[in-house]
Amino acid sequence: MEDIIIKYLLNAIFSAIPAVGFAMVFNVPSSALKFCALGGAIAYTTRYALMDFNIPIELATFLASTLVGVVALYWSRKYIIPRPVYTIASIIPLLPGTYAFTAIINLIQMDVQGVSPELITVFIDNGLKAVIILSGIGFGLALPSLFFMRYNRPII
């Protein structure tokens, strides 16, 4: 039991750091940095926990980013800052960067070495994962604010 708690804590810390690091690349105002860290930890821990319950990574990513979207909606109304400032830094640990790069590198290898079933399998596997995870993130972040759009008034 203790092992699991330590594992979760470590994961939360190690996913909060990238959220802050990339928030600095995007020049997020310094007052928002701590929320980005918290958001990153929430996003990754939620996905990790869901995947522990044998939920596939795509669905887990969608649910985690929906949660981040809801939390960021609350923060943005409280501190009057556009939501992407919080959300995009927070979902950085969820991004399927490796899948996307592997897919494109495979595509080019297919051109160089000739098409083979193995290369196609790797390409489709990684490409599909990247695209579906990305749409999961996008939809998850958008849903909470779409819910408010019917009032036809600004969120903050």
């Binding site: 990238p18 690091g21 990339f22 020049n27 556009p82 992407p84 995009i88 950085i92 790069f101 996008g138």
Partner: protein, 260 residues
Amino acid sequence: MSKALSYEEQTKITRAIIKAAVLMLEFGAESKLIEDIAKRLGTALGVSSVEVSLIPSAIVLTTLSNKQTQSVTTTRRAHHKPINMSIVCDVQKMCIEVEKNKKNVDFVFQTIKNIRPNHYNKWLVVFMVGLSCACFAYLYGSDINGFIITFLAASVGMYIRQVLARKKFVLIISFISTAFVATLIASLSETFNLSTTPNIVMSASVILLAPGFPFVNSVLDAVKGYLSMGWGRWMQALLLSIATSIGIILAFALLNVKGW
């Protein structure tokens, strides 16, 4: 209803609104936010309605006033710059200030002129990005040597990206060079057998180039009804990913490494 405006006054208001909108588009705000801010600024400054048409490289904006009988239309080209959220926040704050305290057009021009990006210390950013990529390596399951090499590779990569950005190179060129250098350093782990998990090291060191902002913005735009903006940003993000892959492949070809 708003009071009657002369043509000159309305032109000035239109210029102020489109200035704010272009600033937001250039520094990476989502389309819904840009349109909302343009409309709110317009209402606050006294025109009766604002219509905005967005494409990825430009903004067309029309204001209507005097019971819809007088209209001013203007277009501005937007040059995409590295994403900067502090500027977007400042524009939003200015909009709320104009709404709350009934400021006039001159206040908008003055504020936009004075907006300065909030730059973090560049060495701090290099350190944090290096650490971030190292954290990714940990999350993917690398060993301690892999952690250190990733930190090194990503920090050097980020430094190069900053240098190229300061010299105002096109994003694609800076992405190719950054990916090339980061992969070269990361592949040391494989050539010298420093780490047991060279694949993770190499893939984590280029994570700093994953174009998260354009990708997420493209989905946000598309689901909120800005389809052409969504496609435009998707294309932009894809181009940057391809540039990164070219850099990685160049490094692989140089070192004769097979891949991840």
